[in-house]
Each structure stands twice: as C-alpha cells, then as structure tokens.
C-alpha cells in the first residue's frame, strides 16, 4: 500500500487559543436563533404530507360509496413481504352492487410486515388501494396491527374516481334491459 504523508504543520498562536473556532460556533448558534423556527411540537403540531407520500396502505370507496376492491388478489400476489391476505367473496344478487359480482370477504394487511413499497397501489387494476398520508402506526398487540377490512376502509375514506367503470357497465345493462341498443 502506498503511504501518503499528511502535512501536520505546527499550530500558530491563534489556533492554539481555540478562540476563532469557539467564536465561529457561537456565530452559527446566534444566526439560527434569529431565523424562523422549523421544529414542530409533535404530536400537537403535524407536518404537511406531500401528495406522493407513501404512508399506510388503505382501501378506498368511490364517490358513490361503493367499495372499489373486487378481491382480484393481485396486491396479495405482488406484496414483497407477504403482508396482504385476502379472503375473496361474491356479492349477493340482492345487493345494489350485484353487477360487480365480487368483493373481499376480508382484507387483511399486517402492518408489522408492510414495508410501504407501494407495489399494491401500483398493481391495483381497480384503483382501490392507496398509500395515503398516515405515517404513525402504533398498537398494543400484534393482532391489533393486523388491519382488517373495516379498519382499512375507515382509514381510506373516499377518493375521486376518474372512470366509474362499474357504473358505466350497470348503465349499459340497464339500457339493454330497457330495450335499447346494446
């Protein structure tokens, strides 16, 4: 190995007193005292979350209140830490969303396993799962941190829909039933 000789010239008088360094440090402190505050008094004060933030994965409803997940299980398939577990189920014919035919009987996300990678959101063909702005997850037991369907919908709320795919499908069905062109 090549040897590199480091220059260690002797300290001069001012350097030996340490005063320039001490005063320089005090200047930084004083400068920052006069600047506006950036510290937040968490948890009373909360930061603004950017739109592309990847927080807790949640399930969302469309503006008509229909649950968007159809339990296609693609998120379960793609999930790298296998945090998602879906029990598929069908929709009863008497239900107003019978034309969608399928929805999850249960939807579990194990928050102890989730790595917030956002793959589930990316893969979802129904735009039903979103990593929104929730970043603080806590609980008293492991069971409590396995989020089930009700909790996931509660966290997700309603997001705007661009397609209304299933509503359009229902409209087309009704049009045909009424004798219109199909």
């Amino acid at each position: 190995m090549a040897v590199k000789v480091v220059d260690r010239s002797p300290l001069n008088f001012w350097e030996k007193t340490y005063m320039p360094q001490v005063l320089g440090g005090l200047k930084i402190t004083l400068d920052n005292m006069l600047r506006p505050k950036v510290t937040l008094q968490y948890p009373e004060e909360r930061p603004t979350i950017p739109d592309n933030y990847r927080g807790v994965p949640t399930l969302v409803r469309d503006p008509n209140g229909r649950e968007k997940c159809v339990s296609c299980q693609l998120c379960e398939f793609v999930c790298p830490p296998k945090a998602i577990r879906i029990t598929p189920g069908d929709i009863d014919d008497s239900d107003e969303n019978a034309h969608v035919e399928k929805r999850p009987k249960d939807f579990e996300i194990n928050m102890l396993r989730c790595i917030y990678c956002g793959m589930c959101q990316e893969v979802c063909p129904e735009e039903a799962i979103f990593l929104q702005d929730i970043y603080s997850v806590s609980g008293y037991s492991r069971e409590e941190l396995v989020y089930h369907k009700a909790k996931l919908y509660e966290l997700g709320g309603t997001l705007p829909d661009q397609h209304y795919k299933w509503d359009r499908k229902k409209e087309a069905e009704e049009k045909v039933a009424a004798g219109g062109h199909h």
Binding site: V70, H99, V100
Partner: protein, 569 residues
C-alpha cells in the same frame, strides 16, 4: 396409433425440418416439436370446428409441373415451394410429406393480431373478477400475439352474466368467444346435446335448449375446456385466483377406473380437482362427482387424534394397546381397496407377523360405462397382486360375522371399512376388540377400542392399480393434520411393537424394492420410475376372475362381468 408413429414424414416449419407422424393434426404436430400455434376452438379430443381462425398459418408444398409431374426447380436446382396465396387454418390440416409452414411470417402475425382484435372487441374488462385469469388463453394470446392496444371506442356488447346452466356450471356470456368447444363436448363426448348458440352476429349467445339444463355428471369438463372464463365452476367460483394454486398429480378414488387428476392447493388447502390427460385411461375428462371428493379432507367427521378406549392417547400408547389386544386371541384383518399398494403390502407383512385371515369388502355401486366403474374402490386389484386376496371378496363380511359369533375371532384390525355397514351388527362387534385405522368416524369407530387416524389420499403418496391393471402413482398434495402418520409408517410401528425391535418408517421406494423381489408382477418396478401415465401390469393370473366392471371409455372387461349378483349397499 402404432401405424402413424412408425410412419414419419418430414415437414418444414419456419425453415427447420422436423420429423412428425404422417396425417397428424398440424396443431398437435407443431406442439410435439415445440412450435406453438395459438388456437381456441381446436381440442385434440373433439372434432375440428375451425371457427376461431386463431391458428391461421401460411402453408406451401413443393412445386411440381402440372402436366408432367416433374419437380419445378429454381435457379439453384432446389425444388420451389408453392405457397398458398392465402393463410390456412392449421387445425383443419394434417401433416403430409414436404409440407412447409410459416408460423412467424408477417402475414401470420397480422392474421393473429386481427383475430385477437376482433375477439377483444366485445370482451369485457373482467380480468380482475374473472376466475380464468391466470390460465386464460385470451389473456395469454393477447400478450403473445395481440396488438397491445385497442382501437375500439364504441360501447361493448351486453349479454347475460351469471346464467346458471346447471347445478354446477355458471355461464358468463359476455366473456364467451363462441369457440363451441363446450357445445361439441356435450354433443360428441357426453352425448347429451343440451348446449347451443342462439341469436345471430354479435348477439350470438350460448344457452341450453329450452327445458334442458347442463346437469350431466360430466358437465364440469366444459369448464375445463372453456379457453376463457365464460363457463365457470359454481363450486370454485370466486374462491381463489389460480396463480396461487399448486397442481399435484393424483388419482381419483371414486371408482376403480383410476382417473388421473390434478389437485390444486394453496398453503395446505385444496380448492379444486381437474382431470390430468392420460390417453390410455381418461383422455382429458373426469366426472363431476370425483371433483367434489376433496371435501373429505376438512369433513366434520374427520378423525384427528389417537384414541384408546375412548380417551385421547399418544401414538405410543395406541400401538402398545394394539399389541395387547392382538395378543388376546385370534386376529382377523379387514383390508380395503382404498389402501394403496404399499399399505396393502405392509398389511401383508403384519399378517405374517401376527397371523390372521384378511377380509375385504367388494364395494359395488352404479357404473356409468364411462369413467365411473361399478367397483367403488380404487385399488381392489392391489389386494390381489399383493397376495392379500386369493379371489374376489364378497359385498359383505358375513364370513367374518359367523366367525365372530362362534368366538373364533377375538380381535379385528380394520382399515377404514365400516363393519356395521358391511353386515356385522353393532351388538356383535362390541364383543370383539376392534382396532380401527381410518380417516373418518362412522358407526364402527364408536365401538372400536383403539382408533388410529390415517391420512386421506390427498395427504399421502403411493400407488393404485386400476381396473386395467394399470399401476398409477399419486403424490401428496397437502400436509395432513398434525401428528398423523402414513398408514405404512403406522403398520411398521405396530409390527416393530409386536416384534420388539427398533422402528423405522418405510419409504415407498424401499417397499417397492421388497415387492419387486417378492411379487412376480412387480418385478423390476421402481417407485420413482412409474411413468405419469401409469404402468400396465401383467394381469394374466387374474384373467378368470369375475370382476364387476363393465365396458368403459378405455376399458374392456376380460371375463364375463358378475353384474347379476351385484348388490349395492
């Protein structure tokens, strides 16, 4: 078949010469040499309809002069190829000497893109809720041969979804691509023509004829046939996506036909059973009743713990009690055609250590002259081959009952056979010591002194000998309940308990090495090398036995069937 195998011809696919049987269907011939020709309506076991047009390829033959018959040569002295001006469908063409194909040319590609575009025009965007997703030919070919984008902006067709065609089949008409495989199956194979198309053009709809429904016992084969998600199994509908499921080769235990199956499971739970192609046994079909057999795994009356005199016990306590009871007095064994060949061999070894007569029950029921035979056990012939049976058993156990009445038998070791149903009254049974090895509770288990839970066919591996004397392997699909052992291991443990020597669980290959030496018909058979399509054994020693099976799809009875004396119970 033998003729066409020896009669090979050379065809040229995309510039490569391949040797294939003469007169073989082109789709199959290409598949046999590893060239895929996409197709929807063609099925090797059904007639050719040629309506999907997906298998369009360019074809040509070496050119000959029409007048003289002399080969037409090009400038280099090579025979010219006369390409047909338009593409032709491969499924309606057969191999012939010198045939040339272009499966990757621009024209072929354009044809496929065009066909895919037309098929997808009215196909709903149902993939997220469609059970076929993951094994859908439309999905596969759309990615492999499709254009990749849609130019269609008009409204898609609306057709009935969720039509119940029969008790087990649900139809989604919007997804149907009108390939007519199901129609041809019902017509040609099931010989129960109930399906047909009504309406015309884009209104074309698959329906049952008025007053009929798709209720044949072979109706679920239409679901397997369907290249898209139009026909779905009501049992499997919306249960699990297929990409999570792992297929395991197995054998149907419904009857002695020995239908080859694939059992689809995820994380130890079975979701469905489908037929596995074996052209010598079941082609690509199976009965609906056999597909429901997996429900026994999680049945209410499943035995999951060892019991001695009604109390839970360890396996050690149970085998110890078995030894005690077997030394009480004369022992009789009741074997079963549900046991695998390996288990029957272990039973024979037990019967040599602790001598006793081996009884079987001949389970006879209705056959359908197709894939369900009149013998309701999968492995009665294994009992004959392993030497447990010298002749065909009775349909009841009256001989054993008489011996019990006379006090000639004190202990019965029973393998999954309901003795009460087999004709021995409960009061009489209570006088005997019954050791019961079985997977489910029944009237006999209430009386038994020792209960030893066993594994179902889905939880163990082994082999069965079907009605054709074809030895067929089945593999373990799912793990059994905690603490349960295969019957071969249980029997080995009982034998070592009686002998007082060290216990080792036997493996199937080990047992087959023993059987290969001891049994003439099994000579040279290695467990690992039993082919997926089975191994036909020498049945000449049993040719005179009056088996009950009647003619089926791939079975001709050797002797006169003893149908007259069959008494189902």
């Amino acid at each position: 078949m033998a003729d066409s195998e020896t009669n090979l011809v050379t065809i040229n696919i995309d510039g490569n010469e391949h040797s294939v049987p003469n007169g073989m269907n082109l789709v199959d011939a290409c598949e046999s040499v590893g060239v895929e020709i996409p197709h929807y309506c063609y099925h090797p076991k059904l007639s050719v309809a040629g309506n999907c047009r997906m298998c369009l390829v360019e074809m040509g033959m070496p050119m000959r002069d029409r007048a003289t018959g002399e080969p037409v040569l090009d400038d280099d002295g090579v025979q010219k190829i006369g390409w047909m001006p338009k593409p032709a469908i491969a499924c309606a063409s057969k191999t012939m000497p010198g045939l040339h194909l272009k499966t990757k040319s621009d024209l072929t590609k354009e044809c496929r893109e065009g066909v895919m575009e037309f098929l997808l025009v009215n196909h709903p965007l149902d993939c997220p809720i469609c059970d076929q997703a993951g094994e859908c030919r439309l999905q596969e070919f759309a990615t492999d041969y499709g254009r990749g984008f849609s130019r269609y902006v008009e409204e898609k067709n609306v057709k009935p979804k969720r039509t119940k065609l029969g008790p087990r089949v649900t139809l989604d008409d919007e997804r149907c691509i009108l390939c007519s495989r199901c129609v041809r199956f019902c017509d040609e194979i099931d010989e129960n023509p109930v399906l047909g198309f009504t309406e015309r053009g884009s209104y074309n709809t698959l329906t049952c004829f008025p007053g009929t429904q798709l209720d044949s016992n072979y109706s679920l084969n239409t679901v397997d046939l369907c290249p898209v998600g139009a026909l779905t199994s009501t049992d499997f509908r919306f249960k699990m996506r297929v990409w999570f499921l792992k297929p395991t080769p197995s054998i149907c235990t419904e009857s002695s036909a020995g239908v080859n199956t694939e059992v689809w499971s995820r994380e130890g739970v079975i979701y469905r059973i489908t037929p596995r192609r074996n052209d010598l046994v079941n082609d690509t079909w199976m009965a609906d009743t056999g597909r429901a057999l997996y429900h026994q795994v999680e049945a209410e009356n499943r035995m999951k713990s060892f019991r001695v005199d009604g109390n839970r016990a360890s396996i050690g306590e149970a085998t110890q009690r078995v030894r005690e009871l077997m030394s009480v007095g004369p022992v009789a064994y009741v074997g079963s055609g549900q046991m695998s060949v390996e288990e029957q061999w272990m039973l024979r070894k037990l019967a040599e250590v602790e001598p006793g007569a081996v009884h079987f029950v001949y389970h006879q029921g209705e056959g359908d002259d197709r894939l369900i035979s009149k013998d309701k056990t999968p492995n009665l012939r294994g009992g004959l081959l392993t030497g447990l049976l010298k002749t065909l058993p009775e349909t009841h156990l009256h001989a054993l009952r008489d011996q019990l009445e006379k006090g000639e038998v004190k202990t019965i070791v029973c393998f999954g056979e309901d003795l009460v149903k087999a004709g021995i009254g409960p009061d009489l049974l209570k006088k005997a010591n019954i050791i019961y090895l079985g997977s489910h509770r029944n009237d006999t288990t209430d009386i038994a002194r020792v209960l030893i839970p066993t594994l179902t066919v889905f939880e163990r591996s082994g082999s069965f000998v079907n009605q054709q004397f074809r030895l067929q392997k089945f593999a373990q699909c799912v793990p059994g309940p905690a603490g349960l052992l295969p019957t071969t291991a249980l029997l080995a443990r009982i034998i070592s308990e009686i002998k007082g020597d060290a216990y080792t669980a036997p493996s199937n290959p080990m047992l087959w090495r023993e059987m290969g030496l001891a049994i003439e018909q099994f000579a040279g058979v290695e467990f690992a090398k039993i082919p997926a399509t089975g191994l036909e054994l020498d049945s000449s020693a049993f040719a005179q036995l009056p088996f009950v099976e009647e003619k089926g799809w791939h079975y001709e009875p050797a002797a006169e069937p003893a149908g007259a004396e069959s008494s189902a119970h």
